[in-house]
């Protein structure tokens, strides 16, 4: 327990977790559409503002868990309500809280039926997402991790597109199937650790190698499906395409990050030996994901599908960065998580705005809107540039760091990843060209109106972050640096210890 900084004052984290839940409960009793919209916007905005206090109060010089709150929950099984954040989770929490008000704004006109239940789902999502990133007790983590499936399922199944039933069930079954063995692994770890579900207690223990491999595989299945990594990605395009805009944004910006967060938080510290043993396979799977996502995105005519497959590629970069196991790679990976959240979230918002006007996601229907929607294409252009890592935008920094880390690790691996970056430029520019100029057979777009004030407000903050992280990433890296360095130090120490033991034997 010496790695916790207990928060004696106002329980800020609990406030952030439970405020949206309380808001959702109140919304259950209303059926007024406009009240539901304003209420959800208020609640998410308060949460976003409250979360800024986390950054201002965050101590970047320590790798300990901060803002920790601890209460007894189920004493029979030694399960506690422990939450806290460190450099790995703080950025993801900020991403979640800041993106949520814009999800509400994006749904302002898009959702016309059953508005109050929709906002209830969004608020419950926010509660469980923030909770997942803060949880320091494995049962608490698992409860929130699974619970999130219900509102997300509802978001897709009720407010989704034409094939919503197929997509929502596939999403639910796929993710649930992945986390089943995670539960068994958690119980096994609990028994190995003298009946403790406290996550930091499970880290850096000397489990046997077989045990580590089994636990790693159980973790890997759950997290790889969530990321999604290459062979497990098939639920993602379906879910993205059918989900309403806000659902797509949440899915892309936050939900996918839970998988990579899981790798960093659990796989590396709990099963270090297995991580070293399995890293090559994971790395090549990441490369496969990058290339596969790129090529498939190149062939899409559906804008949402295109961005969904580009997500597979971008998340491939994240796993690549994590498993090269050096500071550049891991820091780049965390930054890439944030950047992907910002950029892809914004791209989905853009597609949603077109969809609201043309009621189609087809690239050919949206061709040549540049003439009639200049504001819109300006935003779209910047986000697209960011998506393929154009220098000066946010993704450039993170992809550069990841590739630098990869070069250090293995030059062939890095060379294999390079085409991914080129492919990204190819498919994003293709989409951009079509949407702005199109060709000779553009449909009549003269009925289109440019972005409204609300829509500009929704997109502007994303653009700010694109350039902020792109031009001055140091504050973001500072937030995570100590924790990442500590994580990797311990990881390599544990490896050295293993080697030392082998030598002694």
């Amino acid at each position: 327990m010496d790695n916790l900084i207990i928060n004696e004052g106002f329980p800020l984290l609990s406030f952030l977790i439970f405020l949206p839940l309380a808001g959702a409960v109140i919304l259950l009793f209303t059926s007024s559409d406009s009240f539901a919209r304003f209420w959800a916007l208020t609640i998410t905005t308060i949460t976003a503002i409250g979360s800024i206090l986390l950054v201002t109060g965050f101590d970047t010089t320590t790798a300990k868990y901060q803002f920790v709150e601890k209460h007894e929950w189920i004493p029979q099984f030694n399960i506690n309500y422990i939450i806290g954040i460190d450099g790995i989770s703080i950025l993801l929490i900020m991403l979640t809280t800041i993106i949520m008000p814009f999800c509400v704004l994006a749904s302002w006109k898009y959702i016309q039926k059953r508005v109050a239940p929709f906002m209830v789902c969004l608020l419950i999502m926010e509660t469980s997402m923030i909770g997942v990133f803060c949880a320091l007790d494995f049962v608490l983590f698992y409860v929130l991790w699974e619970f999130m499936l219900i509102p997300m399922y509802m978001l897709i199944a009720i407010w989704g597109g034409p094939r919503k039933i197929y997509a929502s069930i596939k999403f639910f079954l796929y993710t649930l199937a992945g986390s089943i063995l995670l539960l068994v692994a958690i119980i096994a770890l609990y028994l190995e650790n003298d009946n403790s579900f406290f996550i930091p207690d499970m880290m850096w223990q000397s489990y046997s190698f077989t045990f580590q491999i089994l636990v790693f595989l159980a973790f890997f299945l759950a997290f790889a499906i969530k990321v999604p990594m290459f062979p497990f990605h098939t639920w993602l395009p379906a879910a993205h395409v059918e989900a309403p805009t806000a659902g797509s944004v949440i899915l892309a910006s936050v939900l996918l990050k839970m998988g990579t967060y899981g790798f960093l938080r659990f796989c590396l510290p709990i099963t270090p030996e297995a991580t070293f043993a399995m890293a090559p396979y994971v790395l090549w799977l990441s490369i496969a994901g990058i290339l596969y996502g790129g090529f498939t995105a190149l062939a899409q005519s559906d804008m949402k599908k295109l961005i969904a497959y580009s997500s597979v590629g971008h998340m491939g970069f994240v796993t690549l960065g994590i498993f090269v196991l050096n500071p550049q790679g891991v820091e780049g990976a965390i930054l890439q998580m944030i950047n992907h959240g910002v950029t892809t979230g914004a791209l989905f918002l853009c597609v949603g705005m077109i969809y609201e006007r043309t009621h189609s996601r087809e690239l050919s229907v949206a061709a040549g809107v540049g003439k009639y929607m200049p504001w819109y294409v300006t935003f779209l252009a910047f986000f697209s540039l960011s998506a393929f890592g154009f220098p000066g935008t946010n993704s450039f920094i993170s992809e550069f760091m990841i590739l630098a880390g990869t070069f250090k690790f293995n030059i062939f691996l890095a060379l294999a990843a390079i085409p991914g970056a080129v492919l990204a430029a190819a498919y994003m520019l293709r989409m951009l060209q079509k949407i702005i100029w199109g060709g000779t057979n553009n449909p009549d777009q003269s009925y289109l109106v440019d972005l409204s004030f609300r829509e500009i407000i929704t997109l502007t903050p994303f653009l700010i972050f694109v350039f902020w992280i792109g031009l001055g990433p140091q504050p973001f890296i500072d937030l995570m640096h100590t924790s990442v360095a500590n994580l990797l130090d311990q990881l390599h120490n544990s490896q050295l210890q293993e080697v030392a033991q082998l030598v002694v034997r």
């Binding site: 007894e72 929950w73 189920i74 004493p75 029979q76 099984f77 049962v139 698992y142 409860v143 929130l144 699974e146 619970f147 499936l149 219900i150 399922y153 509802m154 199944a157 009720i158 919503k164 039933i165 929502s168 069930i169 639910f172 079954l173 649930l176 199937a177 089943i180 063995l181 539960l183 068994v184 119980i187 096994a188 609990y190 028994l191």
Partner: protein, 475 residues
């Protein structure tokens, strides 16, 4: 005073016997009387929760263990009476008789959890079973197909067969130990010749497996669930299982000597029940049949608690069954009220329920997600604790690990059919299906059940602690 709840039920049965003699009855008054009666019985059980007594020459033990179960039984009965008060599918003239047998059955179940002697266990179990056998064919004949008669006959035949197994086992126990008192049997069995003692225990268990619907004593479930009226099924699916678990725990904790075989047997039955129940439920179109098969799967989970052979495992089994009863009651509350005239519901009859009756749709969604074992509902916490307990019981054993993994995989299979019901209720349009009207009281009770599902799941510590104390009074 110690047997106040039992006396209440007996009075109720007698009172309805008198009522049934009148020719001209205002059914509304009967309805209100019966609901009051259910609530009063529950209050009586609550009052006598802490009472202790030993009666009838030591064959009837009133202790915390039995009182906790009586509380849950009376809770289940009260809820069934409330949501099934319209008895849509029972002829009006038969309704007072229906209540006589319902009360007698509940009385039998309450007596069985207090019985600590083989003969009284047998008598009270039969009291409850025979009353139930009569409830099933009381459904009005809908299409002239007499499926309720078929169900009734099947139920009684299978039931008698299971009773036969149990009696056979009891005779062995008496032969081996020379006594019918559980306390003395427990001592006697420790020195009894081994295969015979184990055989006797397993035979007795078989009788209760029938009640709980554990593989291979499950085959009555789908047809009887389908053939009985919705209210009757709501009762059969919930309350008798409580008593079955109570007795299973009593009997299992008696076993001694070579219990490893019993543990492996329980494991085998648990895994078979789960797979059989879940795989069969996948293809059902009738809602009650589906819930029946899911009940078989859940019975398998209960066995995971029993096979730990220690008090904490039993406590979790109690926690799980009480959660299961609450979830199932919520499901049947919706089912009974969506059904317009008491007909069976197909899953597709739930189409557009979110528009036809939003509150019922919400109750149904929560209870099904809970049954599927999604946190933070009670179904998840129960499963999680059962899995933890089972793995703890055999920490280094590959067999235990395999069983736990198989059980976990089953949660994944189960989610599909629960989810498809939720999907029908929430994502489709009603088309031309009529609106559903429910009275405010039933709605309130339904919301209460939902809250209970959430509270039991999110804050389980108190409930598990109570179950734990209760179990320790009999060990």
């Amino acid at each position: 005073m110690a047997i106040l709840p039992e006396l209440m039920l007996l009075t109720g049965a007698a009172a309805f016997f008198v009522i049934s003699l009148y020719k001209q009855l205002d059914f509304n008054q009967v309805k209100n009387a019966v609901v009051c009666f259910g609530v009063v019985t529950f209050i009586a059980a609550l009052i006598s929760l802490k009472s202790q007594a030993t009666m009838f020459y030591g064959s009837y033990e009133v202790d915390l263990y039995s009182q906790v179960f009586k509380l849950m039984i009376s809770f289940g009965v009260a809820i069934v009476l409330i949501f099934g008060k319209n008895l849509k599918d029972i002829e009006e003239a038969d309704r007072p008789e229906y209540y006589i047998f319902l009360f007698l059955s509940a009385l039998g179940l309450m007596m069985v959890v207090s019985s600590v002697e083989l003969i009284s266990i047998f008598v009270s179990l039969e009291l409850s079973s025979f009353a139930l056998y009569l409830l099933v064919p009381m459904r009005s004949d809908r299409n002239g197909l007499r499926i309720q008669m078929e169900a009734g006959i099947k139920y009684i035949l299978f039931g008698v067969l299971a009773t036969g197994f149990m009696l056979f086992g009891m005779s062995y126990i008496f032969g081996l130990t020379g006594t019918t008192y559980l306390q003395e049997i427990m001592v006697g069995l420790q020195t009894a010749p081994q295969p015979a003692a184990l055989f006797a225990i397993i035979m007795v268990l078989a009788g209760f497996f029938f009640k709980l619907a554990v593989f291979p004593m499950h085959f009555w479930v789908p047809d009887i669930y389908q053939g009985a009226s919705n209210e009757t099924t709501g009762f059969i699916a919930t309350v008798p299982k409580l008593a079955a678990v109570a007795l299973l725990i009593r009997i299992t904790s008696m076993s001694s000597g070579n219990i490893q075989f019993l543990v492996y047997l329980l494991m085998f039955l648990a895994v078979c029940s789960m797979f059989y129940g879940n795989l069969s439920a996948l293809v059902q179109t009738d809602l009650k049949r589906m819930l029946g098969f899911s009940g078989i799967a859940h019975a398998g989970f209960i066995l995971l608690g029993l096979l730990t052979m220690d008090a904490s495992g039993y406590a979790i089994a109690i926690y799980y069954i009480s959660g299961y009863v609450v979830m199932n009651l919520a499901c049947f509350l919706v089912l009974c009220n969506v059904s317009q005239n008491g007909e069976n519901l197909e899953i597709k009859d739930l189409q557009g329920l979110h528009k036809r009756q939003p509150i019922l749709a919400f109750i149904l969604a929560v209870s099904l997600f809970a049954l599927a074992g999604i946190p933070p509902f009670v179904g998840f916490m129960g499963k999680f604790m059962l899995l933890t307990g089972a793995l703890k019981a055999g920490p280094e054993s590959l067999i235990y690990l395999t069983v736990v993994i198989l059980a976990a995989i089953n949660t994944g299979i189960a989610i599909y059919y629960y989810l498809s019901v939720v999907r029908t209720a929430y994502t489709t349009d009603p088309e031309d299906r009529p609106d559903v009207t429910v009275d405010g009281f039933t709605q309130t009770v339904g919301i209460g059940l939902v809250l209970l599902i959430i509270i039991m799941g999110a804050l389980p510590a108190k409930f598990v602690a109570l179950a734990d104390t209760a179990v320790r009074t009999i060990m």
